[in-house]
Amino acid sequence: MILLQRLEKVLLAVCIVVVVAVAVTPLAWMMLTSLKPSLIAVASPPQILFTPTLEHYIALFSGGDAGSTLGLAFVNSIVVTAVSMLLTIAIACPAAYALSRLRPAGTASLTVFIIGVRMLPPIVLVVPLFRFLQPLGLNDTYLALLVPYVGLSIPLAVWMLIGFFQNLPRELEEAAMIDGCGRLGAFWHVILPLAAPGMAATSIFTGLLAWNDLVFSLPLTTTRAVTMPVIAARMRVEEGVLWGQLGAVSTIMIVPVILLTFFVQRHIVSGIASGAVKG
């Protein structure tokens, strides 16, 4: 019996190691490649031992055509992500509050409408946006990206925030109102600070949508407003020399995400879960 239990433990450990290895290896390998000298990056069979180098990162950012584009793309990605996060949260928070607390007539159908537009495949919007923005000279600008990002993030944000708002005890808000706060005052002074972790998790998810997107950035930007995913997707090179640089671009794109994930891990899980399970 003890032997059986021990065997079970070993089996569990093996399963977990395999699962983690499969989940992490492709990313770790890419990051490792970014540190390999050019020749080793394309060695066959693949090398694990090597003297790490930052040459690819330096090459990426030290002038040259590719270098200046990457710097621009990096700034563009940050600006577009930050602005779309802020706009989304500013629009979604009041809506989620109204739907979860004030519940006016028609709440159910409004909720279905807001969340239902998530069913709309983003690529359906690409051609119309391209046609609308072109005559206005707005293709290849921040606006071309912000419009769809905010539009598509709102449903997700409202959905997650409703879950967070519903979890806050109603009594706190009522107490604040009895103490003389108006409805908006209670929302501002009581609800928002309490919901801050949830709002942070929501912002991260809406930010990821902008930071990672290729569906809009590929057709709607060309040079001035290109973002990191466009640059990475364009580096489709079979000559091994550039795999190191590709690794470097990829690493720059995922390191912030990995750091944030560890930072707000708990809230991410509860964020998705609360919306999903309470529906």
Binding site: L12, C15, I16, V19, V24, T25, P26, L27, W29, M30, S44, P45, P46, I91, A95, A98, L102, P104, L110, I114, V117, L120, P121, I123, V124, L125, V126, P128, R131, F132, P148, V150, G151, I154, V158, M177, I178, C181, L184, G185, L208, L214, V215, P219, P229, A233, G240, W243, G247, S250, I254, I258, T261, Q265, I268, V269, A273, S274, A276, V277
Partner: protein, 308 residues
């Protein structure tokens, strides 16, 4: 902004009801207005334009020949083997991906629901694929799949299997599928894990006391309670896989020989390589309709499940 009615002192429990005064209704609609308006302008206006565009013969290369064709674009698409092939590939891709994600995701959720040291770290690491950019995920896998210096062929070489061309015509569909499954299984796992945590412990304890084996506990206690949540994960994954674009674009761009040409890629190609905006709009509407039909079918199933 302070409405005078909110200052009325509450009398009893009934007084609480009065704390939600009539003026709140207009406040509620005011708070909702920005979101609703944004969605109408940003999402529904383009959708309406798309619908309108799809009834026109409209090619940016031949603007003079623009003309109303009614359902012409739709008939062209549904009789054109290349587009039909794209539809078929999309449906097959979605079916395989969602099935695998559900099975693996459920297994992973059960595994990570076990309490073991380092559980939280493992959960975070397993979630990683779904949080990173689809572009980076696909690029990482290109490196793994590389015929000459890829990790996969090297590992297979160790066990004596010769190198394969993973992104060639024969294997490209499977390879892209693997990347899709790898990246989005964690989402299914996450939702099911959350569902598992809502199952009351007493229920499982009770069945244990009644002498149910581990498999019986899963089959007759846990699984029935999980079904609605698994269905929910299925709805989401189906919706999102039908519109797949990025991993396919980065891995194969729909090739070789159209072996991975999903609708998402087909729309992009029709619009921005052939500049046939009318046909691209019609393809978009077809994608939307397919998504709606499948989602609504699931919803009905979900509701029936909830009722029973």
């Amino acid at each position: 902004m302070h409405s005078p009615t909110t200052f009325r002192p509450p009398t009893a429990a009934a007084g609480l009801q009065r704390l939600i005064p009539r003026s709140d209704r207009s406040l509620a609609y005011t708070l909702l207005a920005p979101a609703i308006l944004t969605l109408l302008v940003i999402l529904l206006v383009p959708l309406a334009y798309n619908l309108w565009l799809s009834t026109y013969q409209y090619n940016l290369l031949r603007p003079r020949q623009t003309a109303f064709t009614g359902l012409g674009n739709y008939i062209d698409i549904l009789t054109n083997p290349a587009h039909l092939n794209a539809l078929w590939i999309t449906v097959a891709f979605t079916a395989f991906a969602v099935l695998a994600q559900t099975l693996i995701g459920t297994a992973l959720a059960l595994l990570l629901n076990i309490d073991f040291p380092g559980n939280h770290l493992v959960r975070t690491l397993v979630l990683m694929p779904m949080l990173i950019s689809e572009v980076v995920a696909a690029l990482s896998w290109r490196l793994i799949f590389h015929t000459e210096f890829g990790l996969l062929n090297a590992l297979l070489g160790v066990v004596g299997i010769g190198p394969k061309v993973w992104l060639g015509e024969d294997l490209s569909f499977v390879s892209v599928l693997v990347v899709e499954i790898w990246q989005h299984t964690p989402f299914v796992m996450l939702i099911i894990l959350a569902g598992l945590q809502t199952i009351p412990n007493e229920l499982i304890e009770a069945s244990r006391v009644d002498g149910a084996s581990r498999w019986q506990r899963f089959r007759f206690v846990v699984l029935p309670l999980l079904v609605p949540i698994i269905l929910l994960a299925l709805v989401f994954r189906t919706m999102f896989t039908l519109r797949v674009f990025t991993p396919v674009w980065v891995l194969t761009s729909g090739g070789p020989a159209d072996s991975t040409l999903v609708i998402g890629i087909d729309i992009y190609r029709t619009a921005f390589r052939y500049y046939d905006l009318g046909a691209a709009a019609a393809l978009s509407i077809i994608l939307l309709v397919v998504t709606l039909i499948i989602t609504l079918a699931y919803m009905r199933l979900l509701r029936r499940e909830a009722l029973s």
